[in-house]
Amino acid sequence: MKVGVVTFPGTLDDRDAARAVTTGGATAISLWHKDADLKGVDAVILPGGFSYGDYLRCGAISRFAPVMEKIIDAAKGGMPLLGICNGFQVLCETHLLPGALTRNSELHFLCTDQKISIENTTTAWTSSFTQGQEIVIPLKNGEGAFMCDDETLAVLEGEGRIVARYVGENPNGSRNLIAGITNERGNIVGLMPHPEHAINTLTGPTADGLGFFTSVLNAMVK
């Protein structure tokens, strides 16, 4: 299985995402933001970082990259798509996922080992977990507070589209402790914390993040 990892100018965690893909058992294919095709990949990851410096709004400029057009089409067709951190922000800017990510309530960048619970194990990226499983992976961002209107929140909650929630104190002011959400079909997931930085205990706090990258092996394009 081939998983594309997109690099925008200013992307930082692309190598890490590729390493996690490989560790998970798939082949990582690097995609450049100006690419006009997806090189035959079966799934795509939009990794973390500061694409375009996070200027204007995080993800606001990257969403218009040429490669995004193809990704949006493929994802609408069911291709598994994971946005991590800055990638999640891009997904919200493209409106593939509802809501937006705004400034952390404490107003500074926060890097911490964060406990989250997996609340939906039916998505393309979370099938390796058990319902309610608590894991610890790094959270590191300045704008990670998930915001949306009450109606959208009710829909997300009602349809079980909250993929992961922060456990314990709210680290950034996210509504309903939301750490990650999915679309109706479950192929697109946006996640604020970084599973790719938790694939072994040598370089990460745990190996808990690996589940996201093994899950996608089971998800076929429908």
Partner: protein
Amino acid sequence: MAKIVVDVMLKPEILDPQGSAVSAALPRLGFTFAKSVRQGKRFEIEIEGEPTAAQLAEVEVAAEKLLANPVIETFVVRVEK
């Protein structure tokens, strides 16, 4: 040469931690005038010559598409002397 200004503010129902931080800091510094503070963005766009109606319409489109995120923000376009 003229200046078009786009003001972008968070929608009233969206939490504004930056505005709240300013609100909280003002009285600590002895300033008591503010009932509430919201913080937004201001874009100053310099254009060649006087702005036409068509141009202003284009700025509206650009604001909707790029400068503001309609999910959480509202914006106003105006010409400034």
